[in-house]
Structures are given as C-alpha cells and as structure tokens.
Assembly symmetry: C2
Homo-oligomer: 478 residues x 2
C-alpha cells in the first residue's frame, strides 16, 4: 500500500480531521518533552475508540508503516517520539478520554488510555476514594503512557508503582487484535497474566487502550514534615524509626541534597528556605490516614521530638497549613524546565537496594568529581524506594560543542551505571528505557534477560511495527 | 540418552541419595494432595543448589525427559503431579530451604524456593516484620510453589496476592540457563519485567529457585469479629461501612454460608457455634494495625454497634482473647480433608467482580439446585476479593459409579463456569489451572488470550519439557 493510500484509509477510519499532516499542527507531537529529539511522521492519527485503534493498526500493518503511541508526551527518555528510518505514524489517544466507570463498592475505576492522570485522581476523589499514582506531570500525562512506562512517582512506597495498580487491561496487538482483558477481578489465576507483558513495555508490544485500576480509601488526615539531616545513612535510620511510629501510614519519604536545594531556591519561583541554616541533606516525610480523626499531627510532633533528642536531625518543620504543606512539597517537585536556566544537565534515574543508598551516593559523588572536578552533583529522590535521581550540572559554556557535551554525558553515564550495577541496581528506576537509555541498557543488562526480551518482542511484533527503535538497539546481524 | 544414562548423570549432579527411584520412597510425590491423580516418574530428584537444578534441567533436556517441579505438594488442581505419557522426573526443592537474607532496613527477605511458607513468616516476625501471605497449607507448602501458583489466601485484600509480594526472582529456564533476577529493587524499569512471566505459570515456563520478597510492618494490635447477616448484598454494604471506620486496617473479610457452617460444626473437631441461633450467612472481619496502642477493640465495638443499629447484622461476637480469635478463625479455615467424611464433593475456586457476588451466589444456588435438587450447595470465601468457593456436596452413595460422579461434576462445572464468565469472572481465582482445570480453561478462556499463552509457552519451552500436560490441553493438530 502506498503512503497516500494508507492516509486515505486512515481518514476513512478516524475521519479527516483526525489524520493530521500539516507541519504546524504535528510539530508538538514530533519532539520529545525534553526537546532532545525531533522525528518525522506520515501523520498524527487520533482514533476515538478501541475499534478505530484496531483499524489503524491493521491499516499500518498492511502498509508496513510503524506506529509510535503517544500519551501526554511528558516522558523523559524519548519513548513517544518517532526515531529512525522507518516510516511511521504517531498515534494519539487524546479522544479516548472517557472514565467508563467508577465502583465505590469494588474500589475500581475503568478508564480509557487518553485520560489525564489528574482527571482520574479527581474522579476517584469524587467517590471518596484515592487513585494513588502521583507524579510531577500528573496534570498532562495520560494513563496509557503511565501504564506503558510503569510510572512511579511519590507514592510508590505505600501503594506500589503503576503495575501494582492495574487490575485489567485492554490492548491492541501488532496485528490489530483487541486483547480484551478489561476484568475487574482481584484474583485471577486462569493462565498466564498477559497484562503484565504490556505494563512497562513502552508501546513496543502493543497499544494500551483502556484499563481497570485499583482504588484505595481516601486519605482524610495527614501530616507533612521536612527535616535537616547530616547524611543518607541517617535517612535510613530515620525511616526505620518512622516505620515504628507510623507503620503503613507513611505515604512518601523523599530526600533532597543541599546542592539541589540551592538550585531550587535559586531557580524555582516562589520557593522559600524553611530553615535558618542550610544542611547537607533534607528529608520530606508525608504520613496519611483514611480516618479523619487520626492524631497524625501530634504523632509527628512526638516523632520529631524523639529524633531530635537522638541527634538524628538538626532542625525540622511541620506543615501546619495547606499552604505550608504545598510550600514544602514545592521544594521537592519536578523542575525539569528550570534545569535549562541553570546550565547543561545530565539527568539520571537510578535505583539501588534501599540499604545501598549511602554507598551509592558517596561513590557517585566521588567518582563524578574525580572525573569532572567542576561538576555540580545534585541529588534528589525517593529514598523510600531506593531511587535517587542524580543530576550533574555544568555551566552553559562548559562544553565547546554539542559533541563534547554528549561525550562527557556518555562518560558520566558509564560512571554512574557501573556503580549502580555493582550495587545490584537499575539504570532506570521509573522513567523507562525509551530511546535515550537503550545504549545504556544494552551495556548493563544481563544478556540472558536481553535475549528473552528480544524473544518476547519478536513473538508479539514480528514485523517490528510497534514503536521501533525503542528499548532495543538494532539487532546485530545474525 | 537412555533413561539409565540420565539417572547416572543425575546421580553425578545431586548425589545418589537424592535421586530417589524406589517405589515406597517416591509414592508420596506421585499423588496429588487431593488424591485424584497418581503418576509415574523415572525418579524424584532433589538438588541442593541452583547450579544443581540447572544441571538437572540440562541433563533432562538432553535426554528429552520432562520435569515436574513440586513444592510442598499441597496444590488443589494436580499441577505438581506427573501426568500423561511423557517420561518425566519430579523435581523437589526441599533441600533448597535456606533463608538467604532478611533486611529490616529494606523490608525484604531473600529465600530459596524450598522454604516452607510458615518458616518465612517466622523469619520475618523475628525481625519485627510481616510476610503477609497466609493460607491453609502454610505449615507445609513451599514458597516456590506459592510463586508458581500465584498463591492467594486470606490477606490478599490488604497486601495483594503472591505476585505483588515478589521483588526479584531467580529462575532456571528450559535449557538450563539460570535467569538471575534476584534483585532487591522497589523500582526497576530497565526493560520488560521478566519475572512476571514465571509467577503463576505453574512451572510450565521454568523453575523458580529463589526469590526476594517484600516485607511489611508487623501487625501489633488487632481485632476479630464474626457477624450474622441475612445475605451477600448486606456483606458488601457492611464492607463499605467497615472501610469508613477502618480504612486500610482491614486485613481479612471472609464469608461463610450457613450450610458450610453446619458442615464445619459437624465434621471439624473442636469447633463451636458462637451464636445462639443460626443465620443465613456469617462474616469474619479482621482488622490490624502496626501500632501496638491502636484502639481497634473499641473501634470494633463501636462499628458493631452502628451496624446493629442499622439492622445489618442480627448478632455478632468479638474475639476477646487469643483463644477466642483462634476459635473464630477455625470456623473459616481449610477443611479439605473433612470433605471426604461428609460425602462426595465438587469444589470450585471462582472469582467475580466484588459487586457481582450477590448475583453470583443467587444464580449458582438456583442453577445447581435446578439440575441437582438433592445437592448441598456450600459457600465460603474471600468476599473482599470476589472469591467465593462453591463446594457442592452429595451423599457418598449418590452416584453409582465414578464415571457417573465425574459426569455430574463436569455438568456442575459448566453451570458454575457459565455464570462466572457471564459476570466477568474467572474459573480459577487462586488455585491455578494445573491438570484439573485445563478443560474448563480451554472452554472459557478468550481464544486470543489462549493463543498468546501458547506463544509464550512455545517460546520459553519449545520442546515441551517443563511440566507438560498442565494448563494447556494437548494442541490440536495444525
């Protein structure tokens, strides 16, 4: 089928208005969120239903044209941008944004892939329930993308990552088959759990079109505190202590290094340092309870008193109003945009086993500074999950050419990845692999696992039409 | 390779003592827990390490001999018994029963596949933590089997099933490759999550040899109550009410039908009816908190007062001592052995969406009694998970021949399965498919899903050596 014939067929499936080919209208969908990659596409196609997605996939398969599914295009590693030589379309699910059902009795919600994460949170809240996935881009990212990337965020510690929140999944396979697994079951051992294949596969095995998700009792009382501590080992001691007081009520346990704090205070509008003096590290602890009358504020004060007595913190503040709570969270939340103001950054999304974080932090800082003494090594992350983001910042003018910067960036990747792997970690904890991390994946992943991954890809997408060029490097000739 | 040569090679790998071939010594491992199937095996082989498992698998692959992995042999659907014509060995993991590590800081435990579930619970408890998986056979089942069957039980409502408790998995593949995925990471998006393939695959894709599991804060205060209610719809109203009071503190929410209660009181030694009068249904609610001082007993009394006022319960008791709590649980716990005393039983492990349970119960009872007016339709299960076990009981002498019983049993399966599927359910919620349920799976499973399952099986086990005859019926000739 010629590309013109394909476009005509796509128009017959989704309507002329939803096959977008004019350059000004497609531009926003052809560049990734970080602005690192710009690709080409025959069209940006916007189906309105699962049947239309299936039709689009069948037409593309017949024409040998690849499909790049795209949610809110907020991903951080280029998984939703067309790359490489293969002609492709970008598939946007925006029009599939219905919340199909909320069941308070079942604590479930059934949503289409194009639903904005914040809209799902709001729909759950209207029924007195909680959809716990929460991350910086929640106002614009789509649940289909969250599922495809197995999104993480600030509530994984308590509720698990996206994978653990999925009960049922509807997926369109590479041949257009609709795999109808939209079940609302809490227990189902009738054969292999196929939905697991598509969670975190970044669109390389099929297209998520709808999902049934778990909900939880809403949080009706909470308390938030920020603490100043001397080091990461103390953070782990504190976490163990907090577990004793708060048990499963701990919702988030985040860490901010001093140079990251300095950066935020300098570049993020409206942030204020809540302490008189700086400290090497800052911890953010949020606890919550479904009971409106849980005495969390009193518990938090008692807890802070104890750890202060024990010499674990030098100072601490409790958010005693919604405004204060928001001000504390603002010091932690995503600032990808602001990095560009500060200089050239190299961002990482490493995880290591929780107890290995002190070693990780110490070794990374030493190794990066040994290689690049002028680097500003900033750290921030989800210490309850073993997921510390390392952001290495250089002045704008530090590298003469883009190539020099890329070479240094690759170099820093190797330094950090080797330490992570040595500690039993992962080079990508929550962002996924996408296009950006595939070389690093190929270098660090166990070859047996990589081989099995390729086998799965080959089985589900034998013609390589599902988001090609992502996760895997092109195969070596056999 | 001849079978004799294979046995010699197996002896060279694991030692003569651990290649068991004498009939009296193998008998216990060749019949399933329910005593429905007895198979044959060249030997029962007991490796002591992952390397030995890998060696055994390679030797068997070279000889074309199948491998039936077996944990505690407590499964309820014949998944661990050799069936069919293919020569096979039974692989027991008993000697691989080391708890390799417990980390309180990370809330993880790393165990070998042959560890008894109760031993893992005890090891976690020694460090003040909880491994929440809990089921009737916990004193003898092994964690490898729990993982291979994605075990459920009485704490799924709060902590998820086995799948959600696995952080890392070590698996020996069909060609003997050791897939070393024993990571302790809370977040890892470095490619497809391969471990998910092996959880719940019932040994048909590979052999689980070790796992890293999630732990939770220990429960330090709890309260247990049993209530008498009029119907299943009231149970759901009560559940919603309990959520408001207890939130995430609800650990178990179980239901017992009156005829099942009668059966337990008659046949299970030491059980006592805690109420003056019988009722149509009984609910068991357990709540727990990691704080030792949580006022759960007072909350439970207040809760029972409210629902009594609202006319939702006719009577209720609180377990006010450990002995009383155990007496309440005894009315609920597994009684597979006692069924044989009472008559001939047909047991089911259906799940439906939580809100569909009233319809499920009503329709099943009506349909089974319409076909078999003399049946005693007993129901018991995890109503918080939508998982009600239907046990259909007949007097011993009801069927003249084993064939007549089997025909009636198949008939009842179809009646119940059709209702379950109509309500969006699953024919096997937590027991798995094994040998017993494979015909029912083939009849009820979406053909596209079944095809994809076969594709995965073919990819990972092209020669069909991993637990053949399980999950799938023999393939139709193409």
């Amino acid at each position: 089928m010629s590309h013109d014939a394909l476009l005509a067929e796509l128009i017959s499936i989704v309507g002329e208005r939803y096959v977008v080919t004019a350059a000004p209208d497609t531009a926003a969908f052809l560049t990734d969120h970080r602005g690192r990659y710009t690709g080409e596409a025959l069209a940006v196609v916007k189906p309105a239903s699962t049947a239309e997605v299936s039709g689009v996939v069948k037409a593309c398969a017949a024409a040998g044209v690849a499909i790049v599914p795209q949610g809110g295009n907020t991903g951080l590693c280029g998984a939703a941008t067309p790359v490489g030589p293969r002609p492709s379309i970008v598939l946007r699910l925006d029009r599939m944004n219905r919340i199909r059902a909320v069941s308070a009795a079942e604590e479930t919600i059934t949503v289409e892939a194009g639903c904005i994460l914040a809209d799902i949170q709001a729909a759950a809240a209207r029924d007195g329930l909680l959809f716990p996935l929460s991350l910086g881009a929640e106002g614009s990212c789509q649940i289909g993308g969250n599922i495809a990337t197995n999104a993480g965020g600030i509530a994984v510690l308590r509720y698990g990552n996206m994978r653990q929140l999925v009960l049922g999944l509807e997926v369109v396979l590479a041949d257009g088959t609709v795999l109808g697994g939209l079940r609302r079951l809490r227990k189902d051992n009738s054969g292999y759990d196929l939905k697991q294949l598509f969670v975190g596969a970044e669109g390389t095995l099929g297209i998520v079109t709808a999902a049934t998700l778990k909900l939880f009792p809403a949080i009706r009382s909470r308390s938030i505190a920020m603490m100043q501590i001397a080091g990461v080992a103390d953070a782990l001691t504190l976490f163990a202590q907090a577990r004793k007081t708060f048990g499963e009520r701990i919702s988030s346990f985040e860490i901010i290094g001093s140079s990251y704090m300095d950066f935020v205070l300098k570049y993020v509008t409206g942030t204020v340092m809540p302490f008189a003096q700086p400290a090497p590290w800052y911890l953010l602890l949020e606890v919550g309870d479904s009971r409106p009358d849980a005495p969390l504020a009193a518990d938090m004060e008692a807890f802070l008193g104890e750890i202060f007595e024990a010499g674990l913190v030098s100072d601490a503040v409790i958010g005693s109003s919604l405004a204060q709570e928001e001000a504390i969270w603002k010091l932690r939340h995503g600032v990808t945009g602001e990095f560009k103001l500060a200089g050239k950054t190299m961002s990482h999304d490493t995880s290591v086993p929780v107890a290995e974080q002190p070693a990780f932090v110490e070794r990374v800082e030493a190794a990066v500074l040994a290689a690049y003494p002028d680097a500003n090594v900033m750290m921030v992350g989800h210490i309850g999950d073993g997921n510390i983001h390392v952001v290495v910042l250089f002045p704008h003018e530090r590298f003469a050419t883009a190539e020099a910067f890329e070479a240094a960036s690759d170099d820093v990747d190797v330094i950090i990845d080797d330490i992570a792997m040595d500690l039993g970690g992962s080079i990508t904890a929550e962002h996924g692999v996408g296009y950006t991390y595939r070389k690093r994946l190929a270098r660090t992943k166990n070859p047996d696992e990589l081989l099995l991954m390729r086998g799965i890809k080959q089985m589900l997408d034998p013609n390589g039409l599902m988001n090609p060029g992502k996760i895997f490097l092109p195969a070596e000739p056999a």
